[in-house]
């Protein structure tokens, strides 16, 4: 059985879809935060079968947590203080994502001209679409 120590003061990102943990780790630039981080993948989940978890000791200045909700509305974020859950954060997906990822459409203007921000707007159906070519953003 895999055992990771409980964190004392920090953040737990739970119920990450299996395989997405490493992508979140990179998106949130966690390796640059200078604090202990544990990325656990494929652990058992009563709700989803398996899941990934990220535990962060300390309270670094994290990028916009709304990105997490944008990627997966099932993600939960828990703030830990003195070893106990002090707050359950419900980040709201932002209306717009800028330079989180590149548009994957080779025929989009963003793929051939430099200096253009990759901007994605949230649609009524919760998808993020490139504002230039309207292709849906996928981070899988």
């Amino acid at each position: 059985m895999l055992t990771i120590d409980r964190i004392q003061n920090g953040i737990i990102i739970d119920h990450i879809r299996t395989g997405m943990g490493i992508k979140l780790y990179r998106l949130l630039e966690l390796e640059q935060q200078g604090v202990p981080v544990a990325l656990i993948t494929g652990v058992h989940s009563k709700k989803y079968g398996t899941k990934d978890i990220i535990k962060i000791e300390g309270l670094p200045a994290l990028p916009e947590l709304g990105i997490l909700a944008a990627l997966d509305p099932h993600i939960t974020v828990l703030r830990i203080e003195n070893g106990e859950i002090s707050e359950r954060l419900n980040p709201q997906p932002p209306q717009r994502l800028t330079n989180i990822a590149k548009c994957g459409n080779a025929r989009c203007i963003t793929s051939c001209e430099e200096g253009i921000d990759h901007i994605f707007e949230r649609s009524d159906h919760g998808q993020y679409r490139c504002i230039y070519c309207t292709r849906v953003l996928t981070l899988d």
């Binding site: 989009c108 203007i109 793929s111 001209e113 430099e114 230039y132 070519c133």
Partner: protein
């Protein structure tokens, strides 16, 4: 300052006003022949599209204005690597309004972000072609007398046809319309569009044969099916003649049917159909000039009462 990058940039009311202006222009062209005197339209065509470019140029000339621009990227600063943003910033000093045709999706939107003049999307790759959609709407309105309560058949390549997608999304905005999609299974309407229709409660059906659908239609919109879109040559051979409009199919159509096509047509409409009074595709091209005239006036805020 407004731009037209996609059809939804105009509300339903604004679209109706623009079409009404286009109808007035068609009825009284002499009243508009000097409205754009001393105004210049820049046609920035990064890829060839002779008919669209000529239509825009004719529109501006009919309004008494002048035209400048380029007809391919080779003859523009793009060949030196200049960005769309820089080009439009410069052109904004030369012209009062610009029409941009570009092979890359989103290029006209990019231009509109840096332009100090109105920008019209004259087609961006397989993405949008809003003035074609407005042309289609005007043709339907002039033929049927309305944009409501119509049964529209869309025939041919419905999977990759941008004009078809745009027309459906536009006609959804007016009440009482229903759609008949006539296509082989591998070229069906994209799932996201069908989902939009269901969510809006708009009736539609999908059939494989044109001769079965045509008796129920008020409007038939034909598009070309390309051989390479089929997964197998055998499938293409089996289906290729099911989506060709001939006098035989026209005999099954109603007397008030109007047949549209964005052109150019290849073999999907037989030349024998051209003299049928229900063939509207050549006047459709003419309507494109009126629509572009109305659009130029609207964006330059010269729309007359």
């Amino acid at each position: 300052m407004r731009h037209l990058i996609e059809p939804m940039d105009f509300t339903v009311l604004e679209t109706e006003r623009l079409l009404a202006l286009a109808e007035d222009i068609a009825e009284r062209p002499e009243a508009y022949r000097d409205v754009c005197a001393y105004k210049k339209l820049a046609t920035l065509f990064y890829e060839p599209s002779t008919r669209t470019r000529l239509s825009f140029e004719a529109a501006m000339m009919n309004l008494g204005g002048k035209v400048l621009g380029f007809s391919s990227a080779d003859s523009s600063s793009a060949s030196k690597g200049e960005s769309v943003a820089d080009t439009i910033r410069v052109v904004s000093h030369y012209a009062d309004i610009a029409a941009i045709r570009h092979p890359m999706e989103g290029a006209p939107l990019r231009a509109s972000q840096y332009a100090s003049i109105p920008v019209i999307n004259a087609g961006d790759g397989g993405h949008q072609h809003p003035t074609q959609t407005l042309t289609d709407l005007l043709t339907i309105q002039r033929r049927a007398g309305r944009l409501t309560g119509l049964t529209l058949g869309l025939c041919g390549d419905l999977k990759y046809g941008r004009t078809v997608h745009s027309l459906v999304q536009s006609m959804m905005r007016w009440p009482g319309n229903r759609f008949v999609f006539i296509c082989p299974p591998e070229l069906s309407m994209p799932a996201y569009l069908l989902a939009e229709l269901r969510e809006a409660g708009i009736p539609f059906e999908t059939v494989e044969r044109l001769d079965e659908a045509i008796p129920m239609l008020d409007i038939l919109y034909m598009t070309r099916i390309q051989r390479e879109r089929f997964s197998s040559a055998a499938q293409y051979e089996r289906l290729k003649n099911c989506y060709i409009l001939t006098p035989a199919e026209m005999q099954r159509g109603q007397a008030h049917l109007a047949v549209l096509h964005p052109l150019p047509r290849v073999n999907e409409i037989a030349p024998a159909v051209d003299d049928d009074p229900r063939a509207a595709y050549f006047e459709q091209a003419g309507n494109g000039v009126y629509v572009r005239m109305a659009l130029i006036l609207t964006l330059l805020e010269l729309g007359l009462e």
